[in-house]
Structure formats: C-alpha cells, structure tokens
C-alpha cells in the first residue's frame, strides 16, 4: 500500500491558515546571507533573459587573472573577446568492467525508422539500474563529422520521477517510468543520462542510470526490486557533440590543488557560461578526462538531432551479491552497535543495511572516505562515497558509490565542490572481481 507523509499534505495544502500569515517573519526566516539581486541575476542568466555584455567582460578578465595567479597553464592569449574560460559539464569519464547481462530479451520499440537502437547492456541491483544503448543509423553514416568527438554528459538529471507516468525532461532526453500494476512505495527515482560518440561517430552510446533515491527505505524488502514489471520509456531529440580547439590546461590528477584551481574557474564563470551558451556568442570550454589527464580545453559544440522513442520492459533478475557481516564486526566498523548487517554489492552501488540499537538512535555512523574502498583482483581500488542515513525505525542505510578518488575535491574552506551537479567520477565495477571490501580501515569481506 502506498505510504504518504504529513510533509506531502503540507506541501499540497491549498493556502496557509490566515491566522498564521501574521507570524513575525523574523522568527521564521533564517539569515542565509542570500541576496535577492544575486538570485535574480542568476535566474535571468539561466533562463536567457537579456543581460548586459559589459558586466560579463569584466568578470571574464577577473576569472582569467585569477586562473593565471593560481598557476594553471592558461595562455595569456586567452584574454580575447571570443575566448572564455568557463567550465561546462565535467566529463569525469565513466568506466566500467561491469557484469552486463545479456539484454537480448529486452523489448525495444523504436519510433524513428532510420535508426537502430540496441540495448547493449543492462545491470543493476534492487535500487538502481543501468542501461546502455547503442544507436546507429541504418544507412551506416556518421551522426556528426569527424572533428566532433567529445563525449558530453547530460546535465545531471536527478529529478525525481513521479511514480505515475509523469515524464521527467532533462534537456533533450525524456524519461518515463511506467508500471503495469500498483507501484511499490518509493519516494523518488533519480536518473542520470550521458552519451558518447563511438566507432568513427557512427554510433551514439547512451547510458541511463536510474536509482531509487528514497531517503527512508523503511519497511521495504531488501531483496525486492524496485524495477520489476516496469516499462521504461526513453525519448530523445538531440545531443551535443563537441570538439577541442585548444587545450588550455592539463592536470595529471584531480588532486586538491587542481580541484581548487578548477573551482575558481568554474565558480567565477558559471553565469558567464550560461549566458554565452544561451546566446551563442562565445565558444566554450570543457574538461575532458582522457584516462590519464584532465584537460581543460577550449572548444565548440553543436547540436545533433537523433530523435528516438524507445520503450523497454524491465523485468530482470536483480544482479547483486549479498554479503553478511557478523554483529561484532559491524559494530566495530560503524562505531555503534549494529546487528543483521548486510552488504549488497552490484555494478553500480554497494549498499549497506543494518539494524542499530535503538538506545543509540540518532548517533552518527562512522564513515571515513579515505579508508573505505573496494580492492579488485588486479589490485586496483575504488573508494566509496556515501550517503549515510539514519532513521528512527532503527535501520541504517548507506548507499555507497564507487569513485576513483577519496574526495571530489574541496575548496580552501573545506567545502565540497559541486560542479554544476555533475558527478566527477562515478564508476561501475564488476563486483565478481572484488577481492576485498574495507570500511573505515577494517576489512569486512575478503574473497
């Protein structure tokens, strides 16, 4: 049976009772230091409302000077009107050696008769599913000329999909998740879409990651899939292809200094980027991870039309591995008494569920990202990035993502950097090749 909360009712209440409209606002509002002017400017920029060029040129120079001062490899010739050191979507590069199941049984319906759409891979666990599609033209021609080769990650679409047939539109990709029967209870599905050009630009590889981002999975069966009996519909109209004209800076790795330099470029120019992209007045730059270095390049992007409308029936076996941890180990690892601790490992996530002692309700679970990782058979390692949630029903839930680095970077104040909501380096792994799992410096699993 569907569940709802008091919060939903309040959000959908028609109007606030009149007697409470007289509440002293100073006792309601929190001092956030947020200025209305700043917000209005940012909103107008994002929506493409008109803005003066003069202001942005000044910002551009400041940004370039700042970049030069931090020692990044920025050429002084970049200070010209048609260059902008801005930061688009950070393509951290996805890589995986995942357990991709055979997707031949997945029914694909394609509306556009000029396209072939094939599901190349399908994997996931009870709360996330990853789908890889290969799209080609029937006549075998490339989608875009050979100069354009850069993969462009879609803006992170962690919009919440409604449990009914409400589409979520992320730029030019629309995703609809339907179900044939009464849906299981969940409070939201997040999704991420990214694509790349392969095979001499004759193939567009599109990847969709769906995740149940419900915060409070209480009462849900741990072994019950969110995905069974659902039809996933993906509609696309176009994507952006990019080419690098000039590499402006290159970082060997995303160490903290590199990230800080990047953040300074990003934060000072984010509104500038939006303005110029919307008005098509500047070429823009992006960061591309080629497997070895992170290159900041100046490039151009253009839209490529690939209209398709496909639907997939999701009804697959949950592909994950369950590992139980004894109570003593779990309690030592997490710092508070835990029982019935289970790890569920899939290509996309490591989930941790445990019951905690109610007398410790509300206490924080220990989690040290530097000392939490999976080590593969070949010795390579992936750190685990967590969202740690407690709820009062006495269940600890942690959804851990595999990342290349222990942190996605932070600024001088220690605030985590967030590149326009794009993930820096979300990874997928082949969980069958995991040799060891270490949490908070303690081994909880060894093959």
């Amino acid at each position: 049976m569907k569940r709802n909360t008091m919060q939903y009712l309040f959000d959908n209440m028609d109007t606030i009772p009149e007697s409470l409209e007289n509440i002293d606002e100073s006792t309601v509002y929190t001092q956030t230091g947020i200025c209305y002017d700043h917000i209005e400017k940012a909103v107008r920029t994002k929506l493409g409302f008109r803005k003066s060029k003069k202001t942005f040129r000044k910002k551009l120079i400041i940004a370039l000077v700042a970049a030069a001062l931090t020692g990044s490899a920025v050429s002084s010739t970049a200070i010209a009107e048609n260059y902008s050191l801005v930061f688009g979507n950070f393509f951290g590069g996805y890589s995986y050696a995942a357990t991709i199941s055979n997707a031949e049984d997945v029914q694909v319906h394609v509306k556009d008769s000029n396209l072939n759409v094939k599901v190349a891979g399908l994997t996931g666990d009870e709360r996330s599913v990853f789908i890889e599609l290969n799209i080609t033209k029937k006549d075998g021609s490339p989608f875009v000329d050979s100069q354009y080769h850069i993969a462009k990650r879609g803006t992170l679409g962690y919009e919440r999909l409604n449990s009914k047939n409400t589409p979520a539109v992320n730029g030019d990709v629309k995703i609809v998740l339907n179900q044939d029967d009464e849906p299981d209870s969940f409070s939201g599905i997040g999704y991420d879409v990214w694509y790349s050009l392969e095979n001499d630009n004759k193939t567009v590889k599109m990847c969709v990651l769906l995740e149940d981002v419900s915060e409070y999975p209480k009462g849900n069966s741990l072994e019950k899939s969110t995905w069974n009996n659902r039809t996933l519909q993906i509609q696309s109209t176009r994507f952006l292809a990019g080419k690098a004209d000039k590499v402006l800076a290159s970082f060997d790795n995303m160490d903290k200094d590199a990230v800080i330099r990047q953040s300074q470029l990003v934060r000072q120019d984010s509104s500038l980027l939006s303005y110029h992209l919307l008005n098509n007045t500047f070429t823009n730059t992006d960061v591309f991870y080629n497997g070895k270095t992170f290159d900041v390049y100046q490039g151009t992007f253009k839209a490529v039309n690939i209209p398709f409308d496909i639907s997939l029936k999701l009804n697959y076996q949950v592909d994950s591995k369950k590992i139980s941890i004894d109570d003593k180990t779990a309690s030592a690892v997490f710092g508070i008494p835990q029982t019935d601790c289970q790890l569920w490992m899939s290509a996309t996530r490591l989930s941790v569920y445990a019951k905690n002692d109610r007398s410790h309700q509300g206490e924080a679970v220990r989690f040290d990202r530097e000392k939490t990782m999976v080590i593969m058979d070949d010795g390579s390692k992936y750190y685990l990035s967590a969202r740690n949630i407690y709820d009062s029903s006495g269940i600890t839930t942690m959804r851990l993502r595999y990342t290349l680095f222990p942190s996605e970077g932070s600024d001088a104040q220690g605030n985590v950097l967030n590149y326009n909501n794009n993930y820096v380096n979300d990874q997928m792994i082949d969980y069958n090749k995991v040799a060891e799992i270490i949490i908070n410096g303690m081994t909880v699993y060894r093959k």
Binding site: N4, M13, I16, T30, T32, Y36, F367, S407, V416, N418
Partner: protein, 180 residues
C-alpha cells in the same frame, strides 16, 4: 499583488511578475533550503539551489494552481534541496534528527492524497494554538524543533510532545473524514 494575481501573470509568462515572485520569496525559499539541508550545503550551494527553484517555477508555470503558489514554491524548494543533498559528497554524516516514523500513514490513491491535502487547512484551523503554530513552523517553514522552541519560548520537550500529539490529531481527523 497577491499570490493569485502573481500566479495568473506567471502563467502568462510575465517577467515582471516573475521578478516580484523572486523578490518576495527569495527569503522563504532560501530559508527552506537552509532548513531542509540542515546546514550541510555551503552558501554557494544554497544560492544555486534557490536559483534552480525559481528556474523550475518558471519552466513549470502550467502546474501552478492560483492559490497554491507559496506551497508549490515550498515543495520545489524541498525537492531541489533533497536532490542537491544527494549529489553532494562530504565527510559529514547526515542525521535526520527530527524525522519520526510516526509521520507515516497510508493514503490509498493519488486523488485521495490531494483531497486530504485540501482538507488540511480546515483541519489545522480546528487545532488550538500554540500547537497549530508549531506544526506550521515545522512542516511549512521546515524549522526544526530546537528553533521552534527558541522562537516560541517553549521547552524543547514540550514542542516535541505537542508536535507528536498534533500529528495524531490530524491523522485522527483525516481518519474521521475517510482519508486514511
């Protein structure tokens, strides 16, 4: 301009009305983002989230119901904040210190949820003060119990028990009206 007029103008994509909405509601939206995020977002992230809220509003003016503009904004603010929190990685552990499982009860269908929400205003008006103010501050303005006790000059334990009792009352009243 009241909310209904603003909503009507927003639906017609009038930029001036939109500016008014931003000016009027930036403090509320920023407060909700700050409160829902429980201080885990930096100022820059709060600004970006607040910006995203208004951008979302503009892109979805068709969904605005004229006398529900404020509630709609609050809902967008909550959703965007939760989305952003799920994208931010940090060393801190997120504790939902005020969440209570007893919040949850079942409403069987989408239609009934919306009908129940519409009834809520009437139900709240039947609740005596200061309980009424507490529940509004908690759910509508996303203030935590500590803050509520501070501004209302009540003992923290008192605020928590009144909150719990009021929730039960609301649930009972919804039950009487056949929504639970």
């Amino acid at each position: 301009m009241n909310d209904s007029e603003l909503a009507r103008k927003l639906k017609k994509k009038e930029e001036k009305a939109f500016e008014t909405v931003i000016r009027q509601y930036t403090p509320l939206v920023a407060t909700i983002v700050r409160n829902v995020s429980k201080g885990l977002l930096s100022k820059e992230d709060i600004e970006e989230t607040v910006t995203d809220v208004f951008v979302t509003l503009w892109k979805n003016t068709d969904s605005i119901i004229e006398d529900k503009l404020k509630g709609y904004l609050c809902r967008i603010a909550r959703t965007r904040t939760l989305n952003r929190l799920s994208a931010v990685r940090n060393h801190e552990v997120l504790n939902i210190d005020d969440y209570d499982l007893e919040d949850d009860f079942s409403l069987s269908a989408e239609v009934e949820k919306n009908a129940a929400a519409a009834q809520l205003r009437e139900i709240i008006s039947e609740i005596e003060m200061p309980d009424r103010e507490i529940i509004i501050r908690y759910y509508y303005y996303a203030q935590n119990t500590t803050k509520i006790s501070e501004v209302m000059g009540l003992n923290l334990h008192t605020v928590k028990s009144k909150l719990q009792r009021t929730r039960s009352k609301i649930k009972s009243k919804l039950l009487e009206r056949g929504y639970v």
